[in-house]
Assembly symmetry: none
Homo-oligomer: 309 residues x 2
């Protein structure tokens, strides 16, 4: 283990929109800053087209994240492509971040760890990701204008996705493994009332099929005489899990969904530890690039103010 002797003002763990926005702001506050992430871009980089980040009518997630990264690199700051193995608080009150085979020290840390979308784990799902398979109706719904789509799930998020999609698509199947949606009654009612939505209960998707783009899914039981259901888009809305392992080891408080609790200043329960983006409960329940970027900026401002005091 090599110890990096330099003491950083701020180490940001995570290279998604929240992490890079935090990095840009921290650099502008002249904080000695490092961003460490296994891969740059986070979940944002996976969106095949982003049309709702203000400033860019249409850009791929990868390209937008490249712009964030390039902007960060304008400043005299460090960027380390490594997996962070642990974040601990030392006896001297400084944080010790272990990444790769190196150890870094910082006065404050920003956890922008992101989350992982839960997947169906069925054949074809990965192959057609971004080619009809999506994990974000708000992001990608527009691309399915006048098409037939499906949503997998029975939660609020699934119901909302189906409603949102029904505004664009000609038809939207809501495919749920249970016999009753578990969404709030109000969502369920809306879904049931929407003529474009057809709910398929007690059913699982077992395979995604297509040629270049999604053409159908296989179901684990027949629906209207066939186990194959033709559709052009499949939205997987079966939840996501925040990547909080590092945070929990450090002692940071999470909510019942496992998300890091932050206040309006992006501070966690631990002094010197801030968090931003999808790994947190957030400033609201939205998980958007613009809200993650705002949280990153807020976290950096709080680190700056915290170090001044």
């Amino acid at each position: 283990m090599t110890e990096n002797k330099e003491l950083y003002d701020c180490i940001i763990v995570g290279g998604g929109p929240a992490g890079f926005s935090a990095g840009i702001y921290a650099a502008r506050y002249k904080l000695k800053t490092m961003v460490i992430a296994k891969s740059m871009g986070g979940t944002g980089a996976k969106a095949h087209k982003i049309e709702n980040y203000p400033g860019f009518p249409s850009i791929s997630g990868m390209d937008l994240m490249k712009k964030f990264q390039e902007q960060y690199e304008e400043y005299d700051v460090d960027l380390q492509a490594d997996e962070v193995k642990s974040v601990k608080k030392g006896d001297d009150g400084m944080f010790i971040v272990v990444a790769g085979d190196k150890e870094y020290r910082a006065r404050a840390v920003i956890l922008a760890l992101g989350k992982k979308r839960r997947k169906l784990n069925v054949p074809g799902e990965e192959e057609f990701a971004g080619k009809g398979v999506s994990y974000c109706a708000t992001c990608d719904g527009m691309f399915f204008k006048d098409k037939v789509v499906g949503v997998v799930g029975g939660s609020d998020a699934a119901a909302m996705a189906a409603l949102l999609l029904s505004a664009h698509a000609t038809k939207c199947y809501l495919i749920y493994r249970g016999d009753e949606l578990r969404a709030e009654p109000i969502w369920t009612e809306r879904v049931v009332k929407e003529p474009k939505i057809e709910i398929i209960y007690d059913t699982n998707v077992t395979e995604v099929k297509g040629e270049g783009m999604v053409k159908s899914v296989m179901l684990d039981k027949e629906y209207e005489g066939s186990q194959e259901l033709a559709l052009e888009g499949l939205f997987v809305e079966i939840g996501s899990t925040p990547s909080v392992v590092l945070a929990k080891e450090l002692g940071v408080e999470t909510d019942e969904k496992g998300r890091i609790k932050i206040n309006s200043q992006a501070a966690t329960n631990m002094p010197g530890v801030y968090a931003a983006g999808d790994v947190t409960v957030g400033i609201c329940e939205m998980e958007q690039i613009v809200t993650a970027a705002a949280e990153g900026a807020i976290a950096a401002a709080s680190v700056y103010e915290g170090l001044l005091s």
Copy 2:
């Protein structure tokens, strides 16, 4: 008074970053939406250089706001360049927005009213407004080529104005009442390094003097042996106050600084009324384009969810 018979789902009052971000999101939620603003761009358009909006290493406020507006115009939505005179709640529960000589109706409103530049309120300020006294270095800086100018203030905006002016003027005094600039360190550093800028600390401007055009200002203490400082342009950059007249008339609650109180869903105390951007207390105390844009997105999401229920 012409009544516009159409009922909007959402009318957004204000054409700055918060308003347009709200517009983009509302349009994507397929809400029937209108943005109404006297001038498009808001305070954001006045910044001569923006380097901290994630995605753009360096862009003028005007250009960034044009991008927001163009993105909004991608959608089938209305944009009305008019001054909003009043927002009221009708007996039927719908909101009535009067702008220019027209009346519009909406199920929900988003107040993205922004703020107004604060004035010095000293003799001569009003008399010489537009004759040497300015509130926008971006707009008027170029008229002071090879002249001596002054900037009043110590914030980011004041520092930026001084830097911008130093590109045109032969000399730029930065006159601040405090003993240390409160600008971001990166701006402070640039100001201190710029040989054309001379900072006068602990000093207030008490009067603007001239003949037809500004010729000097009076200071409340001597600087280099005199209380009179010769200059041809004075840029007032001492902050701004939230434009809450419309909100107060409607009955929306504000805080002790006159900013609209919102919760984490951008909702005000009045059902159906949401607010975003600099006119609000905000999701934190930051007044940044990225936080305003995030609030706009949150407000639109809340309108969408509110209308479903």
